[in-house]
């Protein structure tokens, strides 16, 4: 049998004969497809599909035969099969009865033209508004559950809470400490470099103290925790959603918000301020060592200058923001977790989304705090 397939049309008085020869397989389908499409099909004739010369046949080959049959019939030809070998009959039968399958086009994204683009902007805006709406709703539910727990403190899950505090807080200490320390060093170095030109090296300490205590310590920690814990919340709750564990909780009479969300959000709200204090300390330590190394400012001098630079509120302005940021990160992380559809794909997508959203909202909130503190003249 020839390895490839051929296709002959021989005019025999009235009736036309199509001869299919060789192996009609997936491996030869591309070539066959090309030949079949190049063919000039007759109209309104008597056509016989002669399969005597067919060697091996698989579904793809059978489909090509069926397609030819269909196309011929559509042109008003009377089509008949001839010389079907017994061992090919079941497969041909299968494809003939089922193989009328027409591929349906995939829905094409509509934003390729201008009107599609505008429609997409509207779509995204509406979706965003719906999200904000439902996120606020989720926050409200958590708040109500939390208020109820305050009235019945025994229902608070202490082991879960402490576990969350350990995971979000203690386990994050190495990375938060190291990064704060490095930022302190970088800041001291850059500040010293600029301020030296004015002979005002000592003000490096003021720069460091205010920047780290007011903004950098808390913002840096919040961003690290959003990446570390916020994403973990989404992934954990999302995976539980995929496994129907959330539904199982509900049917067992447990409130998923009470069991899963409150310990996470509360744990984060309790640990983030502590982490911020720790980050402040590590940042100042890095700055202090760098000032000593590059400017020769001794530690007692550094501390004296620091004391004179910072007001009584400077430290608290940073720390007070921490629980708010923690609640934002926790709520966004859990909210996105509950949004997971039942596929692994969506766990990944929403985890990314939760981190980006949390960081975005944290920075917006930080800006709002700045305005607030300016108004309060702190």
């Amino acid at each position: 049998m020839p390895p490839s397939a051929t296709f002959l049309a021989s005019a025999d008085s009235e009736a036309l004969v199509f001869r299919a020869e060789g192996d009609w397989l997936l491996a030869t389908a591309a070539e066959l497809d090309r030949r079949l499409r190049a063919l000039d099909l007759p109209n309104g004739r008597q056509v016989t599909l002669d399969l005597a010369g067919i060697g091996r046949l698989d579904t793809a080959g059978a489909w090509l035969l069926k397609r030819t049959d269909k196309e011929l019939a559509a042109r008003g030809n009377a089509v008949a099969l001839a010389n079907v070998r017994a061992n090919l009959a079941p497969l041909l039968d299968q494809v003939w009865t089922h193989g009328a399958g027409t591929p349906l086009p995939h829905p094409v994204p509509a934003h390729h033209c201008l009107s599609g683009f505008v429609a997409r902007i509207g779509e995204v805006t509406l979706r965003l508004m719906r999200r904000v709406y439902s996120m606020i709703g989720f926050g409200g539910r958590v708040a109500v559950t939390f208020a109820e727990l305050l009235r019945h403190p025994r229902r608070l899950r202490l082991p879960a809470l402490i576990g969350q505090m350990e995971q979000a807080g203690v386990d994050a200490m190495p990375i938060v400490g190291l990064l704060s320390f490095l930022i302190g060093i970088v800041f001291a170095y850059q500040g010293a470099d600029q301020l030296r030109r004015f002979g005002a090296e000592i003000y490096t300490v003021n720069l460091l103290g205010i920047a780290i205590l007011r903004e950098l310590g808390v913002l840096l920690t919040a961003i690290i925790i959003a990446g570390r814990s916020g994403s973990a919340f989404t992934a954990q709750i999302g995976t539980m959603q995929v496994n129907e564990e959330i539904d199982a909780l509900r049917t067992l009479g447990l409130d998923p918000v009470e069991v899963l969300v409150v310990p996470r959000v509360l744990g984060l709200a309790l640990t983030l301020p502590l982490l911020v204090i720790y980050a402040d300390f590590m940042g100042l330590l890095g700055g202090c060592l760098m000032s000593w190394a590059s400017l020769g400012i001794l530690i007692p001098t550094f501390l004296d200058q620091l004391r004179s630079a910072i007001g009584e509120w400077t430290f608290w302005v940073g720390v007070i923001k921490a629980p708010f940021f923690a609640v934002i990160i926790g709520l966004v992380g859990c909210y996105e977790g509950f949004n997971v559809a039942r596929s692994a794909d969506s766990v990944g997508r929403l985890t990314t989304q939760s981190v980006v959203e949390a960081i975005f909202i944290v920075i917006c909130a930080d800006a709002a705090f700045s305005i607030l503190f300016t108004l309060l003249r702190i």
Binding site: L25, L26, A27, A29, A30, D33, R34, D58, T59, A60, W63, K66, R67, P90, L91, D93, Q94, V95, H98, G99, A100, G101, T102, P103, L104, P105, H106, P107, A341, R342, S343, A344, D345, S346
Partner: protein
């Protein structure tokens, strides 16, 4: 083709599987003939899926050899493995469809990888497979998350059949399906076997499937495999096999297969030497 009886497509010899200190299989031998449907049964945790995964080459055994389509699956190089991958298909327990791709795209994955044909033809072949496994036309653009469990299994089967393999491995094909869907799935596998000349190896818990479509059954007991026809297993004195095939469910399946519709318990017992003695 030579005589069907000794044309073996799978040969397993002295297979030993261990997880840590736990031995799952202790010297398993199995030979699967071309064109037969072999059912693998066994209690939960006896390693049915592990055996399947070992034959496919996803799991390395502690000892023994596995030969699939004349090649030692434990010693194939990458090129041989690629060639072998085209000749068998696998339906995983829950379909294992790629969740980020639509059903049609799932079926096109192996086509694209092994036989890149023009795009329109690819779509037509995918649509043909979708129709052959009994899915409606509009299932093609749907994503796995939008399908029911039964449809996911059919879609998984369509992907397993994408390259017209010689062997398909099915891991619990009817679990989680309602009896009607399960019976339809059995019939589908029977039809496909007849039309495509498939060899089918399936791990299953479904007694109805065993009675309906399996030519031979391999039972995993005591870390060994006992292979035989159903009639042979029905006579096997091993207590687990007795309990399995002659329990209430086994008897019901047996009755529905072999007896006239109005079967009474007495006639079922007559068929069943262990119970009547």
């Amino acid at each position: 083709m030579a005589s069907d009886a000794d044309d073996f497509v799978i040969g397993v010899h002295g297979l030993v599987t261990r997880f840590g200190a736990q031995t799952i299989h202790d010297g398993i031998d199995l030979a699967v003939r071309r064109g037969e449907v072999l059912g693998i049964v066994g209690g939960s945790g006896t390693g049915k899926s592990v055996l399947l995964r070992t034959i496919i080459g996803l799991q390395r055994p502690a000892a023994g050899s596995v030969e699939v389509l004349g090649r030692d699956i434990l010693r194939v190089d990458d090129a041989e493995r690629r060639e072998l991958d085209q000749r068998f298909g696998v339906l995983f327990q829950d379909g294992a469809l790629f969740s980020s791709l639509s059903v049609a795209q799932n079926i096109e994955v192996p086509l694209r990888e092994h036989f890149p044909v023009p795009e329109p033809l690819m779509a037509e072949i995918a649509a043909t497979k979708i129709a052959i496994v009994g899915l409606p036309d509009d299932a093609g653009p749907k994503f796995p998350a939008q399908l029911s469990g039964g449809m996911r299994k059919r879609a998984g089967l369509a992907r397993a059949l994408a390259l017209d393999p010689e062997i398909v491995f099915l891991d619990e094909p009817t679990s989680g399906l309602d009896p009607i869907a399960a019976a339809e799935f059995d019939r589908l596998i029977g039809d496909l076997k007849a039309s495509l000349g498939l060899t089918v190896v399936m791990a299953t818990h479904d007694l109805d499937s065993l009675f309906a479509i399996c030519d031979r059954v391999a039972v995993l007991v005591d870390k060994k495999l006992r292979v035989g026809t159903l009639a042979q297993h029905l006579r096997d004195p091993h207590p687990w096999i007795q309990a399995y095939f002659h329990g209430p469910r086994g008897r019901a399946a047996l009755a529905s297969e072999q007896l006239p519709p109005a079967a009474d318990p007495a006639s079922a017992a007559r068929l069943d030497p262990a119970v009547s003695s």
